[in-house]
């Protein structure tokens, strides 16, 4: 390393400007958007620099598809459809939900490594750190959903409706995960480090993901659990996804109503947790 060999002449880069004279023009809204794009870009670049993280986060959903398809699949009977068709919507939702942990961990990391401190001294939009994180995670989810679909097709998953409705199903899953990401952002901003952010996020995820219709029908659960499992948002999103990809269930294992109910859940979660997360972000120091 050759510290201390700085060039002698003071070039333009070291000369201070009169103050903000060079700043490009633009309103609050425009900067809110471009700042979020900048932070999203930064998060995506960071993902590509940790290729093993991408590798392992893709392995996990593949394992879920294969394990459930071949290990549990034989033992679980879904009236009116094959288990693999039933399963894929569950893996979509389960995977993006677990992906929310990286929203918490990423923010906790940025906070405790001092990066957010630097951001707070910049004239950037206050919402950009959160919007950039949740958007980057949503884009990563796109990749994950494509992988699950590909593996699903290899093991027998077939869309029963049409491509347009199938895409709507994927978009619904992405939107739900995006909304939920804002809730998990609050965990990241509240945890004392990235490890505890991860520990705090999982206990929330397990009951929501597994006490749902993601992998089995809620009818097989005891009555008290059914009440929760049937009505909680994850079941609604999974069932909505099935409705869109598989069409009407001949035995009413899922119903078309789930589409509207899950959309309402996602909008509601976003409306409540996005402002809370921004509020929390302003408070942390």
């Amino acid at each position: 390393m050759t510290a201390g060999t700085f060039e002698a002449a003071a070039p333009a880069a070291l000369t201070p400007n009169a103050g903000g004279a060079e700043v490009a023009s633009g309103g609050r809204l425009r900067w809110g958007f471009t700042d979020a794009v900048t932070v999203t870009w930064r998060n995506l670049v960071a993902y590509t620099r940790i290729p093993d993280a991408i590798f392992f986060s893709s392995i996990q959903p593949i394992m879920f598809v294969l394990l459930f398809r071949y290990v549990f699949g034989g033992a679980i009977q879904i009236p009116g459809t094959t288990y693999v068709n039933y399963l894929i919507a569950g893996v979509y939702v389960q995977t993006v939900m677990f992906g929310c942990v990286s929203t918490s961990v990423g923010l906790a990391d940025d906070l405790h490594k001092g990066l957010i401190e630097r951001f707070r001294a910049l004239p950037m939009a206050r919402s950009a750190v959160l919007a950039g994180r949740t958007t980057a995670d949503a884009l990563r989810n796109v990749l994950v959903l494509v992988i699950i679909t590909a593996v699903g097709y290899l093991v027998g998953f077939r869309v029963q409706t049409n491509f347009g409705l199938f895409l709507c199903g994927l978009l619904l899953v992405l939107f739900f995960a995006y909304a939920l990401g804002w809730a998990f952002a609050i965990i990241g901003l509240s945890a004392s480090n990235s490890e505890s952010a991860q520990l705090a996020a999982f206990p929330l995820l397990f009951p929501l993901t597994f006490a749902s219709s993601a992998f089995v029908t809620t009818a097989s659960m005891p009555g008290w659990l059914q009440a929760f499992a049937k009505n909680q948002p994850v079941s609604q999103v999974v069932d909505a996804c099935r409705q869109l990809m598989l069409g009407n269930s001949p035995t009413h294992v899922w119903t078309p109503n789930s589409i509207w109910i899950s959309l309402l859940w996602a909008v509601g979660i976003l409306a409540v947790f996005a402002p809370l997360a921004v509020w929390r972000y302003r408070k942390v120091s």
């Binding site: 060039e7 900048t38 951001f119 001294a121 950037m124």
Partner: protein, 351 residues
């Protein structure tokens, strides 16, 4: 209308409420003239970082007011953010991005036009001797390189006011010299700098004026020359065989120093004007009195001496308060707060 002060603080108060209440700042006043360097000197936990965080809009004060070039740091925070650059002890740069990407990110978030950001990133990398490393992820950088990159990123908007929070803490002497040279370059070009440091040597080299703070209060203020004149220029440190001998010797040496001799175990510290001359006299005096001298050393006044002389206590690190004040210490932050490399004089607890 040009502001009279580049940076101004009036009675800043900040209270952290944790396990116990800590008044990190207890009414701090600061004034920095445009184009000059103010050195904010103090031990860990004195409130230096807290003051910088308030003035750079990261933290809001519980009392008092701060302004940068006439703009209030709370009410006009966005204006202030366009006028300042901030670089810190814990280089707050993104590990996974390359050096060039880091500078570009900060430039974009400062709302500079894209083309200008590209140009500026290249210029800054060249200026900071990082052109070759510019396309490598930061993970591969040394501590000194990170610090330089952090400063380069802070300069991307060519801010007229620069806050440097312990810019050289934990750096090796060569990297430190390099950073000092750049800071001097910036000041020559007209930048106003508020610099916090634990090192008298650093403040002496860079600062036009020094403010010494301890426990959230300003305890001294002046030019480096003023402060050193107050201190005397040299400290003679005499070590004896036991504390009793030291105690009796301290009485005999009283008349030779500019201040009361300071007794610390079996060592006596004497502040004097002309070191070598008085040292000979010290030895003569002790010899005549028949006191055995185990060791004698001459040294320039250190921050310890400044503190001792101003407050009567050593510049101790209050662990709790340090945690509150300096906040997060990321793993791998190099040698850490106390790791003054090289020819350190202010080494805390070294005696």
């Amino acid at each position: 209308m040009p502001a009279e002060w580049a940076v101004e603080a009036d009675g800043l108060v900040k209270v952290f409420r944790g396990k116990r209440e800590v008044r990190a700042l207890d009414g701090v006043d600061l004034r920095v003239k445009p184009g000059t360097v103010l050195g904010l000197l103090g031990p860990n936990g004195a409130g230096k970082t807290t003051a910088v965080r308030i003035l750079s809009t990261i933290l809001s004060p519980d009392g008092g007011r701060g302004a940068v070039l006439g703009h209030d740091v709370v009410r006009e925070a966005d204006t202030v953010r366009r006028l300042i650059g901030l670089a810190g002890q814990y280089a707050t740069v993104d590990e996974n991005l390359t050096g060039r990407e880091n500078i570009r990110m900060v430039g974009r978030l400062t709302h500079l036009p894209k083309k200008l950001v590209m140009e500026r990133a290249d210029q800054l990398l060249a200026q900071f001797d990082l052109t070759e490393a510019g396309n490598r992820p930061l993970k591969t950088y040394s501590g000194g390189m990170r610090r330089r990159l952090d400063l380069a990123a802070a300069l991307v908007g060519r801010p007229p006011v620069l806050f440097l929070d312990e810019p050289t803490t934990g750096l090796d002497p060569q990297s430190r010299q390099g950073l000092w040279a750049v800071i001097e370059e910036l000041v020559r070009a007209g930048t106003t700098v508020l610099l916090t440091t634990q090192y008298l040597e650093e403040a002496d080299r860079l600062a036009d004026r020094i403010v010494v703070i301890d426990h959230g209060r300003v305890i001294a203020e002046g030019t480096p020359a003023d402060l050193k004149a107050d201190l005397g220029t040299t400290v003679i440190s005499v070590t004896f065989v036991d504390p009793d001998a030291a105690r009796s010797a301290a009485g005999r040496l009283q008349s030779l120093g500019t201040k009361e001799p300071v007794l610390d175990g079996s060592t006596v510290d004497l502040t004097v004007e002309e070191g070598p001359k008085v040292a000979a006299e010290v030895l003569r005096t002790l010899d005549q009195a028949g006191v055995t001298v185990a060791g004698l050393a001459l040294r320039e006044p250190s921050l310890d001496d400044v503190f001792l002389s101003l407050t009567g206590h050593r510049a101790e690190v209050d662990e709790d308060q340090e945690g509150e004040d300096d906040g997060k210490v990321p793993a791998g932050a190099g040698a850490g707060a106390n790791g003054k490399a090289g020819s350190g004089r202010a080494g805390k607890g070294s005696r």
